[in-house]
Protein backbone atom coordinates (compact mmCIF):
# COMPACT_ATOMS: atom_id res chain seq x y z
CA UNK A 1 0.00 0.00 0.00
CA UNK A 2 2.81 2.39 0.87
CA UNK A 3 4.44 1.96 -2.54
CA UNK A 4 1.11 2.48 -4.26
CA UNK A 5 0.40 5.67 -2.33
CA UNK A 6 3.94 6.94 -3.02
CA UNK A 7 3.44 6.40 -6.74
CA UNK A 8 -0.01 8.04 -6.71
CA UNK A 9 1.35 11.03 -4.78
CA UNK A 10 3.93 11.55 -7.46
CA UNK A 11 1.59 11.37 -10.45
CA UNK A 12 -0.82 13.75 -8.74
CA UNK A 13 1.82 16.34 -7.82
CA UNK A 14 1.09 15.89 -4.13
CA UNK A 15 2.97 15.23 -0.97
CA UNK A 16 1.13 13.59 1.92
CA UNK A 17 2.09 13.57 5.57
CA UNK A 18 2.14 10.21 7.39
CA UNK A 19 -1.20 11.12 8.95
CA UNK A 20 -2.71 11.91 5.55
CA UNK A 21 -1.32 8.68 4.16
CA UNK A 22 -3.05 6.79 6.95
CA UNK A 23 -6.37 8.46 6.03
CA UNK A 24 -5.85 7.58 2.36
CA UNK A 25 -4.93 4.00 3.22
CA UNK A 26 -8.11 3.76 5.31
CA UNK A 27 -10.16 5.00 2.38
CA UNK A 28 -8.58 2.49 0.00
CA UNK A 29 -9.17 -0.30 2.52
CA UNK A 30 -12.84 0.65 2.97
CA UNK A 31 -13.45 0.45 -0.77
CA UNK A 32 -11.38 -2.72 -1.12
CA UNK A 33 -13.67 -4.70 1.17
CA UNK A 34 -16.58 -4.06 -1.21
CA UNK A 35 -14.54 -4.87 -4.30
CA UNK A 36 -15.14 -8.63 -4.43
CA UNK A 37 -18.94 -8.34 -4.63
CA UNK A 38 -18.63 -5.40 -7.03
CA UNK A 39 -16.37 -7.43 -9.32
CA UNK A 40 -18.78 -10.35 -9.20
CA UNK A 41 -21.64 -8.31 -10.70
CA UNK A 42 -22.37 -9.75 -14.13
CA UNK A 43 -21.85 -6.89 -16.58
CA UNK A 44 -21.34 -9.01 -19.69
CA UNK A 45 -23.17 -7.36 -22.55
CA UNK A 46 -23.92 -4.25 -20.49
CA UNK A 47 -22.85 -1.02 -22.16
CA UNK A 48 -20.96 1.55 -20.07
CA UNK A 49 -23.18 4.47 -19.04
CA UNK A 50 -21.26 7.74 -19.05
CA UNK A 51 -24.22 10.13 -18.90
CA UNK A 52 -27.35 9.50 -16.88
CA UNK A 53 -29.62 11.49 -19.16
CA UNK A 54 -29.84 11.25 -22.95
CA UNK A 55 -27.51 13.87 -24.40
CA UNK A 56 -27.14 15.36 -27.83
CA UNK A 57 -24.07 17.07 -29.10
CA UNK A 58 -24.28 20.75 -28.23
CA UNK A 59 -23.51 23.28 -30.94
CA UNK A 60 -23.70 27.04 -31.00
CA UNK A 61 -23.29 29.72 -33.61
CA UNK A 62 -19.67 30.14 -34.66
CA UNK A 63 -19.39 33.64 -33.28
CA UNK A 64 -16.30 34.66 -31.40
CA UNK A 65 -16.55 36.55 -28.16
CA UNK A 66 -14.11 37.79 -25.60
CA UNK A 67 -15.99 38.41 -22.38
CA UNK A 68 -12.86 38.90 -20.29
CA UNK A 69 -9.75 40.95 -20.82
CA UNK A 70 -6.26 39.67 -20.05
CA UNK A 71 -6.28 42.04 -17.09
CA UNK A 72 -9.54 40.53 -15.82
CA UNK A 73 -8.16 37.01 -16.09
CA UNK A 74 -5.03 37.89 -14.19
CA UNK A 75 -6.79 39.58 -11.29
CA UNK A 76 -6.54 36.39 -9.25
CA UNK A 77 -3.02 35.49 -10.34
CA UNK A 78 -0.63 34.68 -7.49
CA UNK A 79 2.15 36.38 -9.45
CA UNK A 80 1.89 38.23 -12.78
CA UNK A 81 3.98 40.77 -14.63
CA UNK A 82 3.44 42.69 -17.88
CA UNK A 83 0.36 40.63 -18.69
CA UNK A 84 2.03 37.26 -18.14
CA UNK A 85 1.72 34.72 -15.36
CA UNK A 86 5.02 34.58 -13.57
CA UNK A 87 6.71 31.30 -12.60
CA UNK A 88 10.31 30.39 -11.78
CA UNK A 89 12.63 30.07 -14.78
CA UNK A 90 11.94 26.79 -16.62
CA UNK A 91 15.13 26.58 -18.67
CA UNK A 92 18.45 27.48 -17.12
Amino acid sequence: MEDLLDMLEKVNQLSLTDEEKAVAAGYFAATEKDFATFSAVDTDGVEPMVHVMPLENVLREDVSSQPFTREDLQKGAPEAEDGYWEVPRLIE
Binding site: L16, E20, Y27, T31, F38, T43, A77
Partner: protein, 371 residues
Protein backbone atom coordinates in the same frame (compact mmCIF):
# COMPACT_ATOMS: atom_id res chain seq x y z
CA UNK B 1 -20.55 31.84 12.88
CA UNK B 2 -21.01 29.05 10.41
CA UNK B 3 -21.92 31.24 7.50
CA UNK B 4 -20.60 34.35 5.84
CA UNK B 5 -22.80 37.34 5.29
CA UNK B 6 -22.41 39.58 2.30
CA UNK B 7 -24.94 42.18 3.38
CA UNK B 8 -27.91 42.73 5.59
CA UNK B 9 -31.17 42.10 3.72
CA UNK B 10 -33.52 44.98 3.14
CA UNK B 11 -36.44 42.53 3.02
CA UNK B 12 -37.95 44.21 0.00
CA UNK B 13 -37.51 40.72 -1.44
CA UNK B 14 -37.20 37.36 0.27
CA UNK B 15 -33.63 36.54 1.15
CA UNK B 16 -31.75 33.44 0.14
CA UNK B 17 -28.27 32.01 0.72
CA UNK B 18 -26.00 30.15 -1.67
CA UNK B 19 -23.38 27.68 -0.66
CA UNK B 20 -19.72 28.32 -1.26
CA UNK B 21 -19.57 26.00 -4.29
CA UNK B 22 -21.52 28.48 -6.44
CA UNK B 23 -19.60 31.24 -8.20
CA UNK B 24 -20.74 34.77 -7.57
CA UNK B 25 -19.28 37.73 -9.39
CA UNK B 26 -17.04 40.01 -7.38
CA UNK B 27 -17.48 38.13 -4.12
CA UNK B 28 -15.34 35.29 -2.75
CA UNK B 29 -16.01 31.65 -3.61
CA UNK B 30 -13.69 29.21 -1.85
CA UNK B 31 -15.27 25.73 -2.07
CA UNK B 32 -14.23 25.50 1.59
CA UNK B 33 -10.61 25.10 0.49
CA UNK B 34 -7.51 27.00 1.41
CA UNK B 35 -6.58 26.58 -2.27
CA UNK B 36 -9.26 29.13 -3.20
CA UNK B 37 -8.97 31.50 -0.26
CA UNK B 38 -9.55 35.00 -1.59
CA UNK B 39 -10.60 33.74 -5.03
CA UNK B 40 -13.18 35.95 -6.70
CA UNK B 41 -15.08 34.90 -9.79
CA UNK B 42 -15.43 37.10 -12.86
CA UNK B 43 -18.97 35.90 -13.46
CA UNK B 44 -22.10 34.63 -11.74
CA UNK B 45 -23.23 31.02 -11.90
CA UNK B 46 -26.49 30.70 -13.83
CA UNK B 47 -28.36 29.79 -10.64
CA UNK B 48 -26.97 32.87 -8.87
CA UNK B 49 -28.01 35.04 -11.80
CA UNK B 50 -31.52 33.60 -11.81
CA UNK B 51 -31.96 33.83 -8.04
CA UNK B 52 -30.80 37.43 -7.86
CA UNK B 53 -33.73 38.45 -10.05
CA UNK B 54 -36.30 37.17 -7.55
CA UNK B 55 -34.46 37.17 -4.25
CA UNK B 56 -31.98 39.11 -2.23
CA UNK B 57 -28.88 36.94 -2.02
CA UNK B 58 -27.85 37.27 1.59
CA UNK B 59 -24.49 35.59 1.29
CA UNK B 60 -22.61 32.34 1.24
CA UNK B 61 -22.98 29.33 3.47
CA UNK B 62 -19.76 27.53 4.39
CA UNK B 63 -19.13 24.07 2.95
CA UNK B 64 -16.73 21.25 3.78
CA UNK B 65 -13.73 21.20 1.44
CA UNK B 66 -15.10 20.72 -2.09
CA UNK B 67 -18.36 19.59 -0.45
CA UNK B 68 -16.89 16.15 0.21
CA UNK B 69 -17.76 16.13 3.90
CA UNK B 70 -20.36 14.18 5.79
CA UNK B 71 -22.76 17.04 6.51
CA UNK B 72 -23.91 20.43 5.24
CA UNK B 73 -24.77 21.63 8.71
CA UNK B 74 -23.93 25.28 8.02
CA UNK B 75 -26.89 25.38 5.65
CA UNK B 76 -29.28 24.05 8.29
CA UNK B 77 -27.87 26.50 10.85
CA UNK B 78 -28.29 29.40 8.45
CA UNK B 79 -31.93 28.45 7.89
CA UNK B 80 -32.48 28.40 11.64
CA UNK B 81 -30.63 31.59 12.45
CA UNK B 82 -31.18 33.86 9.47
CA UNK B 83 -34.34 35.09 7.88
CA UNK B 84 -33.82 33.27 4.64
CA UNK B 85 -36.24 31.30 2.54
CA UNK B 86 -33.78 28.64 1.41
CA UNK B 87 -30.18 27.63 0.90
CA UNK B 88 -29.21 26.66 -2.63
CA UNK B 89 -26.18 24.41 -2.84
CA UNK B 90 -24.34 21.60 -4.55
CA UNK B 91 -25.30 18.03 -3.75
CA UNK B 92 -22.08 16.25 -4.64
CA UNK B 93 -22.00 13.34 -2.24
CA UNK B 94 -25.24 13.45 -0.27
CA UNK B 95 -24.19 15.82 2.55
CA UNK B 96 -27.31 17.95 2.12
CA UNK B 97 -29.52 14.87 2.14
CA UNK B 98 -27.99 13.50 5.33
CA UNK B 99 -28.25 16.91 6.99
CA UNK B 100 -31.87 17.42 5.98
CA UNK B 101 -32.76 13.97 7.28
CA UNK B 102 -31.14 14.68 10.64
CA UNK B 103 -32.42 18.23 11.11
CA UNK B 104 -35.97 17.87 9.81
CA UNK B 105 -35.38 20.18 6.84
CA UNK B 106 -36.67 19.57 3.36
CA UNK B 107 -34.09 19.15 0.62
CA UNK B 108 -34.78 18.61 -3.05
CA UNK B 109 -32.08 17.15 -5.28
CA UNK B 110 -33.68 17.71 -8.65
CA UNK B 111 -33.46 15.48 -11.70
CA UNK B 112 -29.97 15.77 -13.20
CA UNK B 113 -30.02 18.26 -16.05
CA UNK B 114 -32.99 20.34 -14.91
CA UNK B 115 -30.87 22.92 -13.07
CA UNK B 116 -27.81 24.46 -14.71
CA UNK B 117 -24.38 23.50 -13.44
CA UNK B 118 -22.73 26.48 -15.16
CA UNK B 119 -20.66 28.35 -12.61
CA UNK B 120 -20.41 25.59 -10.04
CA UNK B 121 -17.08 24.50 -8.65
CA UNK B 122 -17.15 21.01 -10.18
CA UNK B 123 -16.73 17.93 -8.02
CA UNK B 124 -18.12 14.93 -9.92
CA UNK B 125 -19.72 16.40 -13.03
CA UNK B 126 -21.85 13.41 -13.98
CA UNK B 127 -23.67 13.56 -10.65
CA UNK B 128 -23.28 17.14 -9.40
CA UNK B 129 -26.72 18.64 -8.86
CA UNK B 130 -27.78 21.99 -7.47
CA UNK B 131 -30.43 21.46 -4.82
CA UNK B 132 -32.57 23.50 -2.44
CA UNK B 133 -32.78 23.16 1.34
CA UNK B 134 -35.70 24.84 3.10
CA UNK B 135 -37.92 24.51 6.13
CA UNK B 136 -40.83 23.26 4.06
CA UNK B 137 -41.74 21.76 0.69
CA UNK B 138 -43.52 24.92 -0.49
CA UNK B 139 -40.40 27.04 -0.10
CA UNK B 140 -38.22 24.39 -1.73
CA UNK B 141 -40.61 24.13 -4.67
CA UNK B 142 -40.81 27.89 -5.12
CA UNK B 143 -37.03 28.27 -5.24
CA UNK B 144 -36.59 25.22 -7.48
CA UNK B 145 -39.09 26.84 -9.83
CA UNK B 146 -36.76 29.83 -10.12
CA UNK B 147 -33.52 27.92 -10.77
CA UNK B 148 -34.84 25.08 -12.96
CA UNK B 149 -34.67 25.55 -16.71
CA UNK B 150 -32.53 25.02 -19.78
CA UNK B 151 -29.18 26.78 -19.96
CA UNK B 152 -27.18 26.97 -23.19
CA UNK B 153 -24.03 27.33 -21.10
CA UNK B 154 -24.41 23.83 -19.64
CA UNK B 155 -23.94 21.01 -22.14
CA UNK B 156 -25.88 18.60 -19.93
CA UNK B 157 -28.88 20.89 -19.52
CA UNK B 158 -32.19 19.38 -20.60
CA UNK B 159 -34.56 21.21 -22.99
CA UNK B 160 -36.73 23.90 -21.44
CA UNK B 161 -40.00 21.99 -21.89
CA UNK B 162 -38.49 18.97 -20.13
CA UNK B 163 -37.20 21.09 -17.23
CA UNK B 164 -40.61 22.71 -16.86
CA UNK B 165 -42.35 19.33 -16.86
CA UNK B 166 -40.28 18.26 -13.86
CA UNK B 167 -42.11 20.79 -11.73
CA UNK B 168 -45.57 19.45 -12.57
CA UNK B 169 -47.37 17.98 -9.61
CA UNK B 170 -48.20 14.30 -9.74
CA UNK B 171 -49.41 11.70 -7.34
CA UNK B 172 -47.43 9.25 -5.27
CA UNK B 173 -49.63 6.29 -4.43
CA UNK B 174 -47.35 3.31 -4.27
CA UNK B 175 -43.96 3.32 -2.56
CA UNK B 176 -41.22 0.72 -2.45
CA UNK B 177 -39.14 0.26 0.68
CA UNK B 178 -35.83 -1.41 -0.15
CA UNK B 179 -35.28 -4.12 2.44
CA UNK B 180 -31.48 -4.30 2.23
CA UNK B 181 -31.29 -0.60 3.04
CA UNK B 182 -33.56 -0.55 6.07
CA UNK B 183 -31.68 -3.33 7.88
CA UNK B 184 -28.64 -2.50 10.03
CA UNK B 185 -29.79 1.00 10.90
CA UNK B 186 -29.46 2.46 14.38
CA UNK B 187 -32.57 2.27 16.54
CA UNK B 188 -33.18 6.01 16.09
CA UNK B 189 -32.88 5.79 12.32
CA UNK B 190 -35.14 2.73 12.22
CA UNK B 191 -37.70 4.74 14.18
CA UNK B 192 -37.40 7.57 11.65
CA UNK B 193 -37.99 5.19 8.75
CA UNK B 194 -40.94 3.54 10.50
CA UNK B 195 -42.48 6.94 11.28
CA UNK B 196 -42.05 8.05 7.66
CA UNK B 197 -43.74 4.86 6.44
CA UNK B 198 -46.66 5.47 8.81
CA UNK B 199 -47.00 9.06 7.59
CA UNK B 200 -47.05 7.85 3.99
CA UNK B 201 -49.67 5.24 4.83
CA UNK B 202 -51.76 7.90 6.56
CA UNK B 203 -51.80 9.76 3.23
CA UNK B 204 -53.20 6.67 1.58
CA UNK B 205 -49.96 5.39 0.06
CA UNK B 206 -49.48 1.68 -0.43
CA UNK B 207 -46.12 0.41 0.79
CA UNK B 208 -44.40 -2.63 -0.66
CA UNK B 209 -41.07 -4.16 0.29
CA UNK B 210 -38.56 -4.98 -2.44
CA UNK B 211 -35.10 -6.52 -2.63
CA UNK B 212 -32.23 -4.17 -3.35
CA UNK B 213 -30.57 -6.33 -5.99
CA UNK B 214 -27.74 -4.43 -7.63
CA UNK B 215 -28.53 -1.26 -5.70
CA UNK B 216 -25.94 -1.97 -3.00
CA UNK B 217 -23.23 -1.82 -5.69
CA UNK B 218 -24.00 1.85 -6.35
CA UNK B 219 -21.86 2.77 -3.33
CA UNK B 220 -18.54 1.54 -4.72
CA UNK B 221 -19.47 2.34 -8.32
CA UNK B 222 -20.15 5.96 -7.40
CA UNK B 223 -17.00 6.17 -5.27
CA UNK B 224 -15.02 5.05 -8.32
CA UNK B 225 -16.74 7.36 -10.81
CA UNK B 226 -16.92 10.40 -8.57
CA UNK B 227 -13.28 10.09 -7.46
CA UNK B 228 -12.16 9.72 -11.07
CA UNK B 229 -14.07 12.85 -12.07
CA UNK B 230 -12.95 14.75 -8.98
CA UNK B 231 -9.30 13.89 -9.56
CA UNK B 232 -9.52 15.43 -13.02
CA UNK B 233 -11.55 18.42 -11.87
CA UNK B 234 -9.04 19.46 -9.22
CA UNK B 235 -6.01 19.02 -11.46
CA UNK B 236 -6.59 22.65 -12.49
CA UNK B 237 -5.54 23.84 -9.04
CA UNK B 238 -1.81 24.07 -9.50
CA UNK B 239 -0.85 27.41 -7.97
CA UNK B 240 -0.02 29.03 -11.32
CA UNK B 241 -2.96 30.99 -12.70
CA UNK B 242 -5.16 31.56 -9.66
CA UNK B 243 -5.65 30.41 -6.12
CA UNK B 244 -2.96 29.72 -3.55
CA UNK B 245 0.72 29.56 -4.44
CA UNK B 246 3.29 28.26 -1.98
CA UNK B 247 5.91 30.83 -1.08
CA UNK B 248 9.57 30.66 -2.07
CA UNK B 249 9.36 27.98 -4.78
CA UNK B 250 12.34 27.53 -7.08
CA UNK B 251 10.75 25.49 -9.86
CA UNK B 252 7.33 25.04 -11.41
CA UNK B 253 7.17 21.46 -10.12
CA UNK B 254 7.74 22.78 -6.63
CA UNK B 255 4.89 25.26 -7.14
CA UNK B 256 2.56 22.41 -8.17
CA UNK B 257 3.46 20.02 -5.37
CA UNK B 258 3.75 22.46 -2.51
CA UNK B 259 0.72 24.59 -3.47
CA UNK B 260 -1.51 21.51 -3.69
CA UNK B 261 -0.03 19.78 -0.66
CA UNK B 262 -0.18 22.82 1.61
CA UNK B 263 -3.83 23.52 0.84
CA UNK B 264 -5.76 20.31 0.20
CA UNK B 265 -7.04 18.42 3.24
CA UNK B 266 -6.77 14.69 3.78
CA UNK B 267 -10.23 13.85 2.38
CA UNK B 268 -9.46 15.72 -0.82
CA UNK B 269 -6.04 14.09 -1.13
CA UNK B 270 -7.53 10.63 -0.56
CA UNK B 271 -10.15 11.22 -3.26
CA UNK B 272 -7.51 12.44 -5.72
CA UNK B 273 -5.29 9.43 -5.11
CA UNK B 274 -8.19 7.00 -5.39
CA UNK B 275 -9.45 8.70 -8.54
CA UNK B 276 -6.13 8.34 -10.31
CA UNK B 277 -5.83 4.76 -9.01
CA UNK B 278 -9.12 3.69 -10.64
CA UNK B 279 -8.13 5.38 -13.91
CA UNK B 280 -4.69 3.78 -14.12
CA UNK B 281 -3.97 1.38 -16.98
CA UNK B 282 -4.03 -1.62 -14.65
CA UNK B 283 -7.36 -0.74 -13.06
CA UNK B 284 -9.32 1.06 -15.76
CA UNK B 285 -11.28 -1.96 -17.01
CA UNK B 286 -11.91 -3.66 -13.71
CA UNK B 287 -12.77 -0.48 -11.81
CA UNK B 288 -13.71 2.57 -13.90
CA UNK B 289 -15.24 0.82 -16.89
CA UNK B 290 -16.92 -1.71 -14.60
CA UNK B 291 -18.45 1.12 -12.56
CA UNK B 292 -19.91 2.68 -15.73
CA UNK B 293 -21.58 -0.65 -16.52
CA UNK B 294 -22.84 -1.05 -12.95
CA UNK B 295 -24.32 2.44 -13.26
CA UNK B 296 -26.42 1.20 -16.20
CA UNK B 297 -27.58 -1.78 -14.15
CA UNK B 298 -28.56 0.45 -11.23
CA UNK B 299 -30.48 2.70 -13.63
CA UNK B 300 -32.18 -0.39 -15.11
CA UNK B 301 -33.10 -1.55 -11.59
CA UNK B 302 -34.87 1.74 -10.95
CA UNK B 303 -36.47 1.84 -14.40
CA UNK B 304 -38.01 -1.57 -13.75
CA UNK B 305 -39.04 -0.66 -10.20
CA UNK B 306 -40.72 2.56 -11.35
CA UNK B 307 -43.02 0.54 -13.60
CA UNK B 308 -44.53 -0.79 -10.36
CA UNK B 309 -44.23 2.09 -7.88
CA UNK B 310 -44.26 5.89 -7.85
CA UNK B 311 -41.49 6.42 -5.31
CA UNK B 312 -38.76 4.58 -3.45
CA UNK B 313 -37.98 5.17 0.21
CA UNK B 314 -34.35 5.00 1.27
CA UNK B 315 -32.85 6.16 4.54
CA UNK B 316 -30.40 9.05 4.06
CA UNK B 317 -27.89 7.59 6.51
CA UNK B 318 -27.47 4.73 8.95
CA UNK B 319 -27.64 6.64 12.22
CA UNK B 320 -28.54 9.97 13.72
CA UNK B 321 -25.23 10.75 15.46
CA UNK B 322 -23.01 11.14 12.41
CA UNK B 323 -19.79 12.99 12.99
CA UNK B 324 -17.87 15.10 10.51
CA UNK B 325 -14.77 12.94 10.93
CA UNK B 326 -16.37 9.61 9.98
CA UNK B 327 -15.72 7.96 6.63
CA UNK B 328 -18.28 9.34 4.20
CA UNK B 329 -17.79 6.32 1.96
CA UNK B 330 -19.70 4.00 4.30
CA UNK B 331 -22.66 6.38 4.63
CA UNK B 332 -22.78 6.98 0.90
CA UNK B 333 -24.44 3.58 0.58
CA UNK B 334 -27.74 5.42 1.05
CA UNK B 335 -27.14 8.46 -1.14
CA UNK B 336 -25.10 6.93 -3.99
CA UNK B 337 -28.08 5.26 -5.76
CA UNK B 338 -29.59 8.65 -6.61
CA UNK B 339 -26.21 10.34 -7.22
CA UNK B 340 -25.13 7.77 -9.78
CA UNK B 341 -28.46 7.74 -11.64
CA UNK B 342 -29.38 11.43 -11.48
CA UNK B 343 -32.82 10.61 -10.13
CA UNK B 344 -34.75 13.27 -8.22
CA UNK B 345 -34.88 12.97 -4.45
CA UNK B 346 -36.80 14.86 -1.83
CA UNK B 347 -35.71 14.47 1.75
CA UNK B 348 -38.70 14.96 4.02
CA UNK B 349 -39.87 13.38 7.26
CA UNK B 350 -36.26 12.32 7.85
CA UNK B 351 -35.86 9.98 4.85
CA UNK B 352 -35.17 10.10 1.12
CA UNK B 353 -38.03 9.74 -1.35
CA UNK B 354 -36.66 8.91 -4.80
CA UNK B 355 -38.75 9.32 -7.93
CA UNK B 356 -38.40 8.52 -11.58
CA UNK B 357 -36.77 11.20 -13.77
CA UNK B 358 -38.76 14.46 -13.75
CA UNK B 359 -40.94 13.41 -10.82
CA UNK B 360 -39.57 16.33 -8.78
CA UNK B 361 -42.92 18.12 -8.55
CA UNK B 362 -44.75 14.95 -7.55
CA UNK B 363 -42.21 14.22 -4.81
CA UNK B 364 -42.46 17.76 -3.46
CA UNK B 365 -46.26 17.66 -3.44
CA UNK B 366 -46.14 14.33 -1.62
CA UNK B 367 -43.57 15.52 0.91
CA UNK B 368 -45.78 18.48 1.74
CA UNK B 369 -48.46 16.05 2.85
CA UNK B 370 -46.00 14.42 5.23
CA UNK B 371 -45.28 17.63 7.15
Amino acid sequence: MTYTTKKEPTFTKDAIALDDMILTKDSPTTAGSKMLEGYTSLFDATVAEKLSEDYEILGKVAVSEFALGMLADSAATALDEKEIKAVVGLDANGAYRRTAALTGKVFVKPTYGTVSRFGLIPVACSGDTVGVMADGADEAKEVLGVIAGHDDKDGTSLPQEVCAAALDAGTIKKIAVVKDFTANLSAEMTAKVDAAIEKAKAQGAEIIEVDGGVLSQAKLAWAILSSAEFCNNVSRYDGVKYGYRAKGCHSIEEIYVRSRSETFGSAVKSAILYGSHVLSTDNYDKMYDKALRVRRLVKAYFDELFTKVDAVLLPACSKTDLSATECVYEESKYTAPASITGLPVVVAAGVQWLGKPLADGALLAFSKQLA
